[in-house]
Symmetry: C4
Amino acid sequence: MKKFQKLKIFVEQNDTKGGKYFDIFIQLLILLSILSFTVESIPNLSQELRNVLDYLEIISVTIFTIEYLLRLFVADSRIRFIFSFYGMIDLLAILPFYVASGIDLRSIRIFRLFRLIRLFKLFRYSKAIKRYKNAFSLIKAELAIFLSATLFLLYVSSVGIYYFENSVQPEQFSSVFHCMWWAVATLTTIGYGDMYPITAGGKIFTSIIVIIGLGVVAVPTGLFASALTKCIQLEDKEK
Amino acid sequence: MKKFQKLKIFVEQNDTKGGKYFDIFIQLLILLSILSFTVESIPNLSQELRNVLDYLEIISVTIFTIEYLLRLFVADSRIRFIFSFYGMIDLLAILPFYVASGIDLRSIRIFRLFRLIRLFKLFRYSKAIKRYKNAFSLIKAELAIFLSATLFLLYVSSVGIYYFENSVQPEQFSSVFHCMWWAVATLTTIGYGDMYPITAGGKIFTSIIVIIGLGVVAVPTGLFASALTKCIQLEDKEK
Amino acid sequence: MKKFQKLKIFVEQNDTKGGKYFDIFIQLLILLSILSFTVESIPNLSQELRNVLDYLEIISVTIFTIEYLLRLFVADSRIRFIFSFYGMIDLLAILPFYVASGIDLRSIRIFRLFRLIRLFKLFRYSKAIKRYKNAFSLIKAELAIFLSATLFLLYVSSVGIYYFENSVQPEQFSSVFHCMWWAVATLTTIGYGDMYPITAGGKIFTSIIVIIGLGVVAVPTGLFASALTKCIQLEDKEK
Amino acid sequence: MKKFQKLKIFVEQNDTKGGKYFDIFIQLLILLSILSFTVESIPNLSQELRNVLDYLEIISVTIFTIEYLLRLFVADSRIRFIFSFYGMIDLLAILPFYVASGIDLRSIRIFRLFRLIRLFKLFRYSKAIKRYKNAFSLIKAELAIFLSATLFLLYVSSVGIYYFENSVQPEQFSSVFHCMWWAVATLTTIGYGDMYPITAGGKIFTSIIVIIGLGVVAVPTGLFASALTKCIQLEDKEK
């Protein structure tokens, strides 16, 4: 029983030296696994490198599987662990490998994307997430309103520019849906330059909507920053 | 008389179950009507889909007409309802359909745009608008000043870039009015890339005006965010 | 003597009905004069319109000259008025017309630009400028530091990108001076698209410098907004 | 001994007239040296100008060397001065010149870049840096978190856009690493226009990620501005 307790502390906590190393090892493996996933996307990789990456994948999945089984084994309630947020993440981080091995290879592209879920395993080690959750819930209502306002503005801009530019640039501004892409690129001030108004009316309309829109799009950031400052102050007071 | 009262509550309030469903139904219909308006803009739609959209339009206008008549019927003062903000919106949301049906079809494009007014019908259901009105009126004077400053800056930038670039790029920077479009795209940092200075003087001028301008254009957002925070604090105190 | 006093009030103040109309008339004339200046820049104007604009210019200069003489006449100290800020502006708004009429026409382009100075005549009527001066002087030291930091960052970015991109794109990134234009367009996030890194090193360098730079460039705006809020609060307390 | 003390004050402080002039002289020389470094990058310079710049470089290095030896001579602890921040900077500002003179000329390009280190010599004269260090350390933890969040977001955006666009634009979005450049240019809203999504999926993905991302990228600026305001208030109280 004492051995079980020791294992539990080793896996779940990082107070002991062993537990700390275990945590760091898993984190490094996550980063290595993500890096390998990224390198795989480079075209014309040599077969040798591909083999190395494949072996690396097999090794990381094996270790993640062992980690999952260990966590399952030491959990107070195994059922609850399986359906907990991190339990699901841990499972989704390894499951695609086993499923993809059993079926046709052509669909592997979509399954590969699931490996990205391993990034979320890192969240377990971050203590800051809670504070941001608090700051976020403080301004949840405001964010919802500004998101609505942003969507409203994006839609109105799209319709407006459609009516100004469609007849002159039917290829580019071919429907209100196509204009939405322009609206996003413009109101966020990205301005790729793939679509822009050329009629006088479209330009005047854009000028007005952008000057209004900049405020609407940027306000949530200001609100979040001040909510965060408030949360930090509250935490400082508690200490 | 009791029946009338019941109808009034059904139409104007959302405390009862019926009133709530009526509200949700109207909101969904508005969204459906707007979606249909958006889909119509897609080129080369099949005739079948076009027919479906036409029927949908007829149905929504019919329901919106019934809604308008109901609201008119239960209003305390019918004259006041007709000339109220939402009364006007409700009327403008259906009127174009009846007018467009009676006249030549070629002008229908402009009338179609009026259907967008239905979006404003959604505002009736938003309780947040009042708070934003308050925050807005708190900084109305400042916004007016910054709008003036923005217009002043846009104008001065346009004239400046015109004098630097017109002789080298007469096609692009052909008049101060054309340069205003450049000024908007630059000072909002959109930067489409359809117009940019190529002379050394124009580039130096742009650099100076942009570094000054960024502050002027972005300040109103900061003011609005802090006014909003103030309003929310006041509301919290009242509770 | 009483007549002189009346004229003084008429010209310098806007408490009386006459003084108010005089102010509005001058403001409208400034805007009309600026509009005419802008319209003149349109290429291929008809000779008739050109004549109209010329007459308009003669009329506005005449009225501005009368205004200047009136202000000079009613000033407490004429010498002080001539060398005051608004006295200089008023003179510079009419002087180029008289000078340009006496000399060769080819140099008129530069003189035309001086007509823009009339815009500054509008500042006389703005009561808000004082508050912004206060907010500005509150953060003068910080702005100077951030301006230095911005210049430092722009310079370092320019040198860095020059060393990464010059050998690959010698036409675009031909000297550190040319790279400064890229640095301005990038750190302000305009991103025209006329110059961008194509080497891996240049892209990584840009990514790092932009993520650092966004903060530096945007901070002064935040400081100004909070200084302005402070000034407004102080004014409210005084009332 | 008194002479030594006088020299120490002359070199290290700026209370005396001589010390002040010494400081200003060194600062001007730094700026001149940096300007000369910048001018050198212009292609097709005349041989005469090149010679002038070379002589200027020799003169500045000589003076900086004398300055370094003086500072070393008057330092309380010479060892500590050599390994201090400014001692290292002062050495790195002259060392490349001596090293480059002794070795092959082809590698001089990299050594030239070291001359930029002279800019950091200017930091010695700035009293504001301390305050910014304080503001910075106040939000160090938050900045680290937002930097992580930014990197996380950049990575997820890169992978997402890779899966949407790679099959359609294999040249542009050829690997996740290439997509990271797009992610930086998009989430900072630069939007050069060298890479942009063309698939419907890629555009929708970009829209969502940008609206989320704008907040994450802009929050640190807000935090820094408010930390700075706090630091300034604390300093004002102390006075």
